[in-house]
């Protein structure tokens, strides 16, 4: 006997409640986990989720970490709506960083005002190109984008490793695999003195506003959504499936590339092997948790940023391993996917037909 039965209508309530349930279950499981590690669960949860936000600096770091994830998730969501599953945003982020960083390295010493805008543009192009590669493989050879985008991520990170170990290595860097530090003209200005919050935040905000408009109103987004939900209906209406694939992968590559520039021209300040702590992957969770909704993803992006912060705090104050961050991210996604099953299904009610007889 099946435990679940399909709902006659997908539940709108569950669609928005599922993330809440997922967060609740993650917290409960986290508490159990802390208990098993012989930590006081309340104290541990406090240190993980609340203590980081007790200082102004903590809040600024929240923004620094949320911004790239929100940015990437916006693009990913467009693809996910078209059922184009780009899981290689990390690679597109890296290529965006390489393109943007390349501009910075080649213009080193100049203080021209156009450098930063060109870096942003180059980063966007780089990320989009990396996404386009997967789109080409998919439309030309029907190669599954879940595999190609992930594999392209490894190529991107090896490319970066080669560059910072070879041609772009800082000559004065004692052989560390890193580029020169970027000059002021190649960096986003810091918005709040004493913090790392910088002007790349405006790119994120602009993209959120743009995608909000795109998704709620545009014919393009409508076509993409039809192609994702009902390919036969898209063909029937004359919407191109290929267009949806190209758009989904290029747009998500583009936003990931922008995020890459934001990191290297922001908090990181150079090209090195640690330009992203996995933002390209965590943005996948941000996108689902935010229900692929541009504003919803702002909230989920902040939450994911908090998990990153909490993970760092837990290392320091609780002597817990860095894997804590990944664990919380994983639990969140796991519970979310489980809760999502209730959007289209409900528990089967066992009610005898003869109850009123």
């Amino acid at each position: 006997m099946h435990l679940l039965e399909p709902r006659p209508q997908p539940s709108r309530k569950m669609r928005w409640l599922a993330p809440v349930y997922a967060i609740g279950l993650t917290l409960i499981s986290g508490a159990l986990l802390f208990t098993a590690l012989h930590k006081n669960p309340f104290h541990a949860l406090y240190m993980f989720f609340i203590q980081p936000l007790t200082t102004g600096y903590g809040w600024s770091e929240l923004l620094v970490k949320a911004s790239p994830q929100i940015l990437i998730a916006q693009g990913l969501a467009v693809g996910f709506r078209a059922r184009v599953y780009n899981i290689g945003a990390e690679g597109q982020l890296i290529v965006g960083a390489i393109f943007g960083g390349g501009v910075a390295i080649m213009t080193d010493g100049s203080s021209a005002a156009w450098i930063l805008p060109v870096m942003v543009l180059a980063g966007a192009i780089g990320g989009a190109l990396w996404g386009a590669l997967a789109a080409w493989l998919k439309t030309q050879f029907n190669a599954e984008e879940t595999l190609t985008t992930l594999m392209l991520t490894y190529i991107a990170s090896l490319l970066l490793a080669w560059l910072v170990n070879g041609p772009w290595r800082d000559p004065a860097g004692q052989n560390f695999p890193q580029s020169i530090m970027f000059g002021d003209a190649a960096s986003f200005p810091v918005l709040l003195a004493g913090s790392r919050v910088n002007a790349s935040l405006f790119i994120t905000l602009a993209v959120v506003a743009l995608f909000q408009l795109l998704i709620s109103k545009s014919f393009l987004a409508y076509q993409i959504e039809v192609a994702g939900q009902a390919p036969a209906a898209a063909r029937y209406a004359g919407f191109s499936q290929k267009k949806a694939i190209w758009l989904g992968l290029c747009l998500s590559g583009l936003t990931a590339g922008l995020a890459g520039v934001g990191e290297v021209a922001g908090p990181v300040g150079q090209l090195n092997l640690n330009i992203s702590p996995g933002y390209g992957f965590s943005a996948i969770i941000v996108a689902w948790l935010g229900r692929l909704h541009p504003l919803g993803m702002v909230l989920s992006g902040l939450l994911m940023a908090l998990i990153y912060l909490g993970g760092e705090a837990a290392q320091v104050s609780l002597q817990l391993p860095a894997a804590m961050t990944g664990l919380f991210q994983g639990m969140l996604l796991f519970f979310l996917l489980a809760a999502d099953a209730f959007i289209n299904n409900r528990f089967r009610r066992r009610k005898p037909a003869t109850r009123f007889a």
């Binding site: 006997m1 006659p8 209508q9 997908p10 408009l213 109103k217 545009s218 014919f219 393009l220 409508y222 959504e225 039809v226 939900q229 009902a230 036969a232 209906a233 063909r235 029937y236 209406a237 004359g238 919407f239 191109s240 009610r349 009610k351 005898p352 037909a353 003869t354 109850r355 009123f356 007889a357």
Partner: protein, 512 residues
């Protein structure tokens, strides 16, 4: 003697709608009992309740005099209830015997099972070779497999959901013989249909439903089609009128030596099809699905473009155009599959209006005006009497017939030059079907070229000016309907349409 099945006070509520409202139904042993009703009258829900696929909220069920609670189709089959669905659930790559083996619960070996299949199928006049693979079977033969599959489980009650909608007139007569023989042996039959004349020739009793309630119990032979229709739809059955076309005579759509291969391993390639559709006429394409209908429609709609000169729109070669381009040029199309092709299941009717009607100035600078789309959907719902909570309802929440009305309406409201419709009234109740047919006639008389592909011969003869038969990917010349007859067309359909493949090919498959 106890009744075979007695339902009393069956009620099933869904959010916003009562599908069954205190329904009583009594079927005697050996009785052929019709359940008549419009779409959304609650027939399907009631059958699903009997077959255990849906649980009622209230009411009780007596089976051979004993109270039962059927909580799954599995339990229903164990009691002796079999059901033949409108859409078959057969695996094309398996043989008939293998398909039947899949649903049996007891232990079996294929050789004995094949012998039993052969025996049962012959006893009931349903000849079928258990070794043949399903993909080579015609629709009528597939239905036999489904029926034989039920019969092997020795049912005491057989439920058939619109069983004749896919059969040729000749095959319908054969089916009726079988059903009468079963009834004579004491098997009760629940027969769901909206074809009144069939019910009159076949059924002993009829329960008529409207709006989830039983509105009457009748003896069909003592009624007239119009009195039955009145019970069913609450008013007189409308009759289609076909005024002559008085406008300019010209060819709008022309197919010239249209050939197309198919990607589907069980599809049918099209071979040198010639056809002209004039302004102001309705041309019907008869034939059983699987004879190239899907391929022809995909070529015509642009979902599978062909060589440019094979299709001409007002003398312009458009065979290579994509679906969107053809729609821009005024070619509208209602596909056979409503959910997933004609409409996006999870989207609202407003959003589904945008699917093809976005050309009705819904867009500005790439942005959609959803207020306009909503207004369009509302007008479509009103004009075509789509029963639904409103334009915000998801397409998949509508019954098949109501969604069909919405899709046909959406296409007609775009003022097409060419209108192509597959199975226009498939699953639509008599009242709405008559309205849709009349709308198509009126549309054609405004100078639109209308092409209708249908498996229902009665329908084609009612609305078409000319009729052609598509069998095995070839199209017969379109004849003026008064110069042909249902019998002739039926023979063309089955003569060419029945799969003539030799036994050798099947054994080749078997040993491959």
């Amino acid at each position: 003697m106890a009744e075979r099945l007695q339902l009393s006070g069956i009620t099933k509520r869904y959010p916003g709608v009562i599908a069954n409202d205190g329904v009583d139904l009594t079927v005697a042993p050996g009785e052929i009992h019709a359940v008549l009703g419009e779409n959304g009258a609650g027939k399907s829900t009631l059958m699903k309740i009997i077959y255990g696929a849906v649980q009622p909220d209230e009411g009780q069920m007596l089976w051979n005099g004993k109270q039962v609670h059927i909580d799954s189709p599995h339990a229903a089959r164990r009691l002796g209830i079999g059901m033949v669905f409108q859409h078959f659930s057969l695996f094309e790559t398996l043989t008939v015997a293998e398909n039947i083996a899949l649903v049996l619960e007891e232990k079996f070996d294929l050789a004995t099972l094949s012998a039993r299949v052969r025996e049962v199928s012959e006893r009931y006049g349903l000849p079928i070779d258990p070794q043949r693979r399903v993909h080579g079977l015609s629709v009528g033969e597939r239905q036999r497999v489904e029926i034989v599959r039920c019969l092997l489980q020795n049912p005491q009650l057989l439920i058939l959901d619109e069983p004749t909608s896919v059969l040729t007139p000749q095959a319908v007569l054969k089916l009726f013989e079988t059903l009468k023989r079963l009834a004579a042996e004491g098997v009760s039959i629940l027969y769901i249909s909206h074809k009144l004349h069939e019910i009159q020739t076949l059924c002993d009793a009829a329960t008529v439903m409207r709006g989830g309630k039983v509105t009457g119990i009748a003896t069909p032979r003592e009624e007239t089609p119009s009195s039955l229709a009145r019970m069913m739809i609450g008013r007189e059955l409308p009759v289609c009128v076909m005024p002559p076309y008085t406008g300019e005579q010209r060819v709008v759509l022309a197919l010239e030596q249209l050939s197309a291969s198919t990607d589907d391993p069980f599809g049918t390639a099209l071979a040198q099809i010639d056809l002209q559709v004039h302004a102001g006429e309705i041309v019907g394409i008869a034939g059983i699905s699987g004879n190239g209908q899907a391929e022809l429609l995909a070529a015509l709609s642009g979902e599978n473009p062909v060589a440019a000169p094979m299709i001409k729109l007002e003398n312009q070669p458009i065979g290579h155009w994509q679906a969107g381009q053809r729609r821009d040029a005024g070619v509208c199309f209602v596909p056979e599959e409503r959910l997933g092709r004609g409409a996006v299941p999870a989207m609202s009717l407003t959003q589904n209006a945008v699917l093809t009607a976005h050309r009705q100035s819904f867009k500005r600078h790439g942005l959609l005006n959803f207020a306009k789309a909503r207004d369009f959907a509302l007008r479509c719902i009103e004009r075509f009497d789509v029963r639904c909570p409103g334009p915000q309802a998801a397409a998949r929440s509508l019954s098949g017939g109501n969604l069909q009305k919405f899709i046909v309406g959406r296409e007609i409201m775009q003022n097409p030059r060419v209108m192509m419709v597959a199975q226009p009234t498939w699953g639509v109740d008599v009242g709405a079907a008559a309205f849709l047919r009349q709308t198509l006639i009126d549309l054609s008389r405004q100078g639109v070229a209308v092409l209708v592909v249908s498996e229902e011969l009665d329908e084609l003869f009612e609305i078409c000016d000319r009729i052609a038969v598509l069998a095995q990917g070839r199209l017969s010349p379109a004849l003026i309907k008064t110069q042909t007859s249902a019998q002739t067309i039926g023979l063309q359909m089955s003569g060419l349409g029945a799969s003539p493949q030799p036994a050798a090919e099947d054994s080749a498959h078997a040993f491959a």
